[in-house]
């Protein structure tokens, strides 16, 4: 089951660049939350703060708190533990090029010391089915490299890889921006199905996509969260002039 996130007074910096300013945002469990906004507004930085990937950059800094259920991910647990529970799918598909399809999906568990073959087989099959990739690859699991798949398949492989470690939250940073419309539709269908089991945060530049998959949408501008509300409210009756300007294409 997914678990909700509560973000309080989150600030983030890259060196002296103040990238996020006082973000306060509840992310409800088992829903998809979309984050929209122009390039450079801080959406990606924000999701990277949710699994502590932000701090892998040596010049980056964060203050504020992110609570997952009743734990504070910045104080109660290690970054490694956080990333195991908050999975991430990146903008560009990034399968491990030297690994087979099977090994890619199993990698998260194996690299954490899990080696039971029978259970791994089960988890790999279930994850690939959840990522809607099983039927396309089931005959080449150990024969083909993850990098030999098409772009859309690679991205679903990356989703399967993230699902295999059984996270509670799944962060998706523009997961379909490098994909064609057919693959994008597949990823969107997938997000719809995954909501029942995971909490999903999706960054997107595509407003129709946000409208299609997300219950709630947040609009970021210049490092601030301008507005956060139910998706239909954001797109039909935004409370802030800047949100309205953005979704109607008057700037950005």
């Amino acid at each position: 089951m997914g678990v909700g996130l509560q973000v309080t007074n989150l600030n983030a910096w890259y060196g002296t660049n103040h990238a996020l300013l006082d973000i306060n945002l509840p992310i409800p469990a088992n829903e998809a939350t979309a984050l929209i906004g122009p390039s450079g507004c801080g959406k990606s930085t924000f999701v990277r703060c949710l699994n502590r990937m932000h701090e892998t950059n040596p010049i980056a800094r964060v203050t504020g708190s992110v609570r997952m259920g009743d734990i504070d991910i910045y104080n109660d647990v290690s970054p490694v533990e956080v990333r195991r529970r908050v999975g991430m799918v990146f903008q560009r598909p990034n399968p491990f090029p030297t690994m087979s399809i099977y090994d890619n999906v199993a990698s998260g568990l194996r690299l954490n010391g899990f080696s039971n073959r029978r259970i791994l087989d089960e988890i790999v099959e279930r994850s690939l089915k959840n990522a809607a990739l099983w039927d396309e690859v089931k005959n080449d699991l150990k024969k083909k490299s993850g990098a030999s798949l098409s772009g859309g398949q690679q991205q679903r492989l990356c989703i399967a890889r993230a699902l295999a470690v059984d996270p509670e939250v799944l962060l998706m940073d523009e997961p379909a921006s490098a994909l064609d419309p057919v693959s994008t539709a597949k990823i969107e269908d997938l997000i719809f199905q995954l909501k029942s089991q995971y909490t999903i945060v999706i960054v997107t530049h595509n407003m129709q996509q946000a409208a299609r998959v997300a219950e709630r949408t947040g609009f970021f501008l210049n490092g601030r969260l301008v507005e956060f509300d139910a998706t239909h409210k954001i797109f039909t009756n935004p409370g802030d002039k800047r949100t309205e300007d953005y979704i109607t294409g008057r700037f950005g």
């Binding site: 990937m53 490694v80 195991r84 990034n94 491990f96 990698s107 083909k144 030999s148």
Partner: protein, 291 residues
Amino acid sequence: MTSQYKTSKGNRMWRAASNHLATGLAILSTILVITPLVVIFIYLLYKGASSLNFAFFTKIPRPVGETGGGMANAIVGSGLLLLVGSALGVPIGIAAGIFLAEFGRGGKLANLVRFTADVLNGVPSIVMGISVYSLIVLPQKHFSAFAGGVALGIMMIPTITRTTEEMLLMVPHAIREAALGLGVPNWRSVLSITLRTASPGVITGCMLAFARVAGETAPLLFTAFGNQFWSVNLNQPIAALPLQIYVYALSPYEEWHRLAWAGALVLIVLIVVSVSLVRFVTTRGVLKGAS
């Protein structure tokens, strides 16, 4: 409207000509690179092949004046020296490369290590021999295969370190992020993902270093010393192909000269075979379609 994109006939011909010129230069350079190897190999075949026989690979050298004999002890000795050298040079070299690329990035210690490796790379091999002589041979009061292996190992380190560093830095950042994003600890990600992705390049670096020291004579002169008899004892002086070639080539005997040529031929063939073998074995598991 379209006229501005049209090119004149002269322009098109110039482009075609410069294209052919560049291709021609590339082919010429390739030939220039390959020629020395081919010429050396043919010359060695011409000079040495006639002295190669079964005894060359199975017998040890005969005393002066007797004909026949072989270099079996030198072939085995070289193998043993390279084994000791690789056992020392490969792990240290790769570990230092990992430190430079993954952990010490930009730090003072990393700059020091990188500088040391570059200087070490430029140290003449005879100096390496003398250094190991004073560090190991003098305290032990005897020459040994071990000392020879150490000298070769130290010579392998800088090449391996710098290629490992460069290959690791070429691994895309997205691959590291993918591993970290799965909740894999950093050290594990470095060893199992980054190093593995870079492994073809790292192996090439190790093979370069291996091939280079396999033919070294100078660092062995005062360390492994050479041996006319059978020995596989690491604590005793040991024969090595380059040493044997050196001694035989400088000798006044026609028979020994022929054996030296044969030894050189065997050395170069063994290097080619072992490098190809390692490449074959280490790339066998790689899947089709992997970059």
